[in-house]
């Protein structure tokens, strides 16, 4: 903590003239950015983004702080954005987990003259409406719909969507997109699994036991996918379902290789951590910024391209 603090103090002192001029002075190195996510501490998926931030900070010679509300409460996230704003960073990167809640906090940062890039959750339209420079992410509904169409082509007629983060509006959109792609109403096909692996396991088990016609499974990330994979291994029903999941992890990769998981929707989170830091750095130093938004996904990881992905799963993929 000591060296980190010293570094930070040094950075704060170095940026004093910048603060005074609200970012009008071109600057060499040591910019300070804050990345605010909505994920609770328990969500392991964000590790890739943290690694991306570390790499980006090292490559651009900047400091990047990763911040999140420990319990995943979006109202607490708004306070963290306000807090970040008060430290006068050179840029803020944030998700739009809930537009209404975060609106005033994000606009407060922009009003203070801090450049903001939005990533991950949220849409390009919301980002533009907030006045952010750009949005880097995967359109959630479209990604879900793509998965639904893929499942339909494979013959899926009835499905379950395992939602481990039901309070995030984007998660429901994924399930909705899948349902629409499949042409089946969402209805009660969505299971609120919570984050606890044992609960996910048992809730999915209960659903599959009581809904015997189910032949498609969609999980929204490692937190819901991994217990589900374990369940299918335990029951031996490894090829009964067309199983598509969002995101990747080591055991999802294993599941794809073993044929339990048909494909994983990869939104390439590494880019959502790396790109905004690089882009903000160039913006602060030279005033350049691409004019369009960046879609980092959806890409599908299947048995065919799993080899390379597997090597990096959980770290950079």
């Amino acid at each position: 903590m000591g060296t980190q603090l010293k570094k930070l103090l040094a950075a704060a002192i170095a940026t004093l003239p910048l603060i005074a001029g609200y970012g009008t002075i071109a600057h060499a190195e040591g910019e300070h950015f804050v990345f605010v996510s909505h994920a609770p501490d328990t969500d392991s998926w964000w590790n890739v983004i943290k690694n991306a931030l570390k790499n980006a900070a090292a490559d651009t010679k900047t400091t990047v702080d990763y911040r999140n509300p420990p319990s995943g409460d979006i109202a607490d996230m708004a306070r963290i954005i306000q807090q970040a704003t008060a430290t006068n960073p050179d840029g803020i990167i944030t998700t739009i987990a809930d537009f209404n809640v975060l609106q005033s906090a994000i606009q407060g940062a922009i009003a203070k003259g801090i450049p903001v890039i939005t990533v991950n959750s949220g849409t390009a339209e919301q980002s533009k409406q907030l006045g952010a420079l750009m949005h880097i992410g995967q359109p959630e509904y479209d990604a879900g719909k793509g998965a639904g169409e893929r499942a339909k082509a494979a013959g899926v007629t009835d499905f379950v969507c395992v939602n481990h983060y039901i309070t995030n509006a984007a998660s429901v959109e994924r399930c909705q997109g899948y349902a629409d792609g499949l042409g089946v109403p969402l209805g009660d096909h969505m299971v609120d699994s919570t984050q606890d692996p044992t609960q996910v396991y048992n809730k999915v088990k209960a659903y599959l036991t009581s809904h015997t016609g189910t032949n498609g499974i969609l999980t929204l990330g490692p937190n819901s996918a991994e217990p589900t994979i374990k369940l299918l291994r335990d029951t031996g029903e490894t090829s009964k379902y067309n199983f598509i999941t969002f995101d990747l992890s080591a055991s999802i990769s294993k599941g794809i290789k073993d044929g339990i998981v048909e494909s994983a929707i990869d939104q390439q989170p590494y880019l959502q951590g790396y790109l905004p830091v690089v882009l903000l750095t160039q913006y602060v130093r030279y005033g350049v910024m691409p004019a369009n938004n960046i879609n980092t996904g959806p890409g599908f990881v299947t048995k065919d391209n799993i080899e390379m992905v597997e090597k990096l799963a959980g770290e950079y993929r």
């Binding site: 930070l8 319990s71 430290t87 203070k112 509006a169």
Partner: protein, 373 residues
Amino acid sequence: MAEDPTVATVAQPLDERLQRQSGLRRLLSRPELGAIAGTVLVFLFFGATAHGTGMFAADGILNWMTVTAQLTIIATGAALLMVGGEFDLSVGSMIGFAGMMIAIPTVYFGWPIEISVIFAFCGALLIGFLNGLVVVRTRLPSFIVTLASLYILRGMTIALSILFANRTIVSGVKNFAGDSFVVPLFSGKAFPGLFIWLADAGIIGKLPNGQPSVQGVPAMVIWAFAIALIGHIVLSRTRFGNWIFAAGGDANAARNVGVPVARVKIVLFMVTAFCATVYATCQVMEFGSAAADRGVLKEFEAIIAAVIGGCLLTGGYGSVVGAFFGALIFGVVQMGILFTGAPNDWFQVFLGLMLLTAVLFNNYIRRRATGER
């Protein structure tokens, strides 16, 4: 006692309970003393480590004041209840539930927002009443009873919001609020003129668009001060306050001298529910939405603030002023760590260690001051 014995013998032989104590000694035996000392320590720490990071600029202060204020609102209720000898673990769930009681009727039933707010307060008071009634009637530990409420309320929040709204985040409340008075009442900014003047005078910063960096005192802060002040006066200056201490100290003895212990406890459970609803209403009005996961773990923060502030877990001892300083310590530490730029992976470790340090220090001071209790 350090009284001069000659004084007592010259005058009437006084009952020892009526004995006069020196001002300093009385001050030192106040429950909130330790928390005040802890607050000073915390500010010294962040004054040294977060200096120049914007923590003590106007918008930085606003940031941790707001966090402190929202915690003060629920900590006041928690402190009163703890002095009364009970716990309420359903505060966090109550926040989520009350938020939904405002948002769903407003957005989906077309109720005027004032009615929804009143409905939420009535609903919350009823739930608080039921909590209290179950505790008093069954004589089960309130820890267990309100733990059940924690799950029931959180579950109902999710189930009812799915049932009525088919989603767990109900947003757009502000679109239905129009120019209703409840919006500024719970989320307005007080004294905007003062802040414009301060900005013009160069005391606080200005945004590039000419607005002051802080536009006013958030309504939540004013609510927090008002609730803490009323709580303090009731606890320390009224008969009801004495009843609270008596009920929490020794319920049987209190009953024997005629204190309506059951009624006192039920009222206190209603107070914690009321405080949670004030919190929820401020949040819904500020953010324009209610979500099923609002307030998760806030019950523990409320209890932690009360304990840092000198409330005993066993009841019968504590103060609202202490709870306020407890909330201040918690709020300042919580946000202050972020200002120092400590690595995020270690955030909760630092938070835990700093709270432990503050409580140990606080305890040490209190022991020194009161001569071991």
